[in-house]
Symmetry: C2
């Protein structure tokens, strides 16, 4: 930003800018305590309210967290690395390993709540799955926790006409999970589309993910397609953005020449 | 959420919840005016402050925008669809089309500011590019606007040792852009890694992207690799999350069997 703007900015913002720069330069690392209100009052010759406002800017930006009675600390960003493509590799989930276990390396991502229900899909989900009026979906709702902290909400939708009577409709889908069962049923997913967005969480999402203030959610909507270009699963995921880095690795050549179902697959 | 929680929530949150549900159900569409303070006071029998708080919850969540004197409106989410994989297809950028033009379909994403400089890289960028102490990088900083609104900041880093004297160091890199020039120089990028995060913007980012309150940024760090697994470009992108949907399409088979340089490529 042009220096000439600086003079017009309120004092608390300029103090927040200095602290932010110090954090970005690594002067204060993750988990470090930032200068307190008294320190800032001394250093910058400002009133307590100004010092407090400066610190609250950093909290609102998600750069720092307040701990009661202890001060304000640089937020510890130690995210899960979620590999969008390797993760779904056939030789991984095809051999009995659940896709989620690849998310975390040596850290354990666990399901702490799961419900399975038969429901009428929303219009959007129904359209993607190529369903008509009365077709129901099997909805698998799960919450995943990492080190005791909820990090991910997932709602997976599958046409009941495909999965009725299989382990997909049970809480425990068995080795290899939903995709292995779909393969056994003759609906092996071989192509995937992930759509990624970000926004602030709703109050409910913030509560379910026990999120810190000033933290957005990442939304991933994954659609799984068979070789016949049928969409067989839609999975709407809501991730605590403070807990995740998504990674997509791909080649320019082979991937580009593969058929890509950009259009609605059915119906 | 369990109904039993509802009674314990403050009134303004319950009103915000109702409005949010109505938005999600499509009762109020993008650009529609929400009930005003007076309407909410009448409907729910609450004080003006409570009505105001309810509306501000939706604004803080990025669901609605206030327009002075006109009311509060459902935010119009008409994002750019950025295809992470198709976009970089060899037959696209290999034939003289800049990768960015594929981002927007029939909408025009334009560069409204560009600077090119030779700099010492940060430690992180230097490490990814396999550079040592004195090696400089060519830094291309660009801001992209869509329909007159800034939506993307990009900082691209390339080793000076690779690109010195080429059009990569000029504002206009010529047909096909940076990647076409790299290919001509014998450093054709064939493998890409994109790392995606989200957080609230800094004040500077919010100013540069002219962002509405309650909107996060999406960060994409893209690394381009040659067939020899050398990293030849790091591109740090900052996107207004209200303007973007990222899309990644991939197959479970071929992509998985391709070599994936998860480790640091050099040095």
């Amino acid at each position: 930003m042009a220096k000439s703007d600086d003079d017009r900015r309120p004092k608390y913002q300029r103090i927040a800018d200095s602290l932010r720069e110090a954090i970005e330069a690594g002067e204060y690392g993750p988990g470090d305590r930032l200068p307190g209100e008294n320190d800032l009052m001394d250093t910058y010759g400002v009133a307590r309210m100004t010092a407090r406002q400066a610190l609250s800017v950093l909290r609102d930006e998600g750069l720092a967290d307040a701990r009661k009675g202890a001060g304000v600390f640089v937020r510890d960003f130690r995210p899960v690395r979620r590999r969008g493509i390797d993760r779904l590799a056939h030789d991984r989930w095809g051999n009995g390993q659940s896709i989620w276990s690849a998310d975390v390396g040596d850290r354990v991502l666990e399901v702490d709540s799961i419900t399975v229900a038969e429901e009428t899909p929303t219009e959007r989900v129904g359209a993607v799955l190529g369903l008509t009026g009365d077709d129901a979906v099997c909805v698998r709702r799960r919450r995943f926790v990492l080190d005791g902290k909820p990090v991910l909400l997932a709602r997976s939708y599958l046409p009941v006409s495909l999965v009725a009577g299989s382990a997909v409709t049970e809480e425990d889908t068995g080795p290899g999970g939903t995709y292995a069962r779909l393969a056994e049923l003759g609906h092996e997913p071989v192509h995937f589309r992930e759509e990624v967005r970000s926004r602030m969480p709703s109050k409910d999402e913030a509560a379910q993910l026990e999120m810190a203030p000033g933290t957005p959610v990442i939304l991933i909507c994954r659609t799984a397609f068979t070789a016949e270009r049928s969409a067989v699963e839609v999975n709407e995921m809501t991730l605590d953005a403070a807990s995740y880095v998504l990674e997509y690795d791909f080649d320019s050549g082979p991937t580009a020449s593969a058929p890509s179902p950009q259009e609605r697959p059915r119906g």
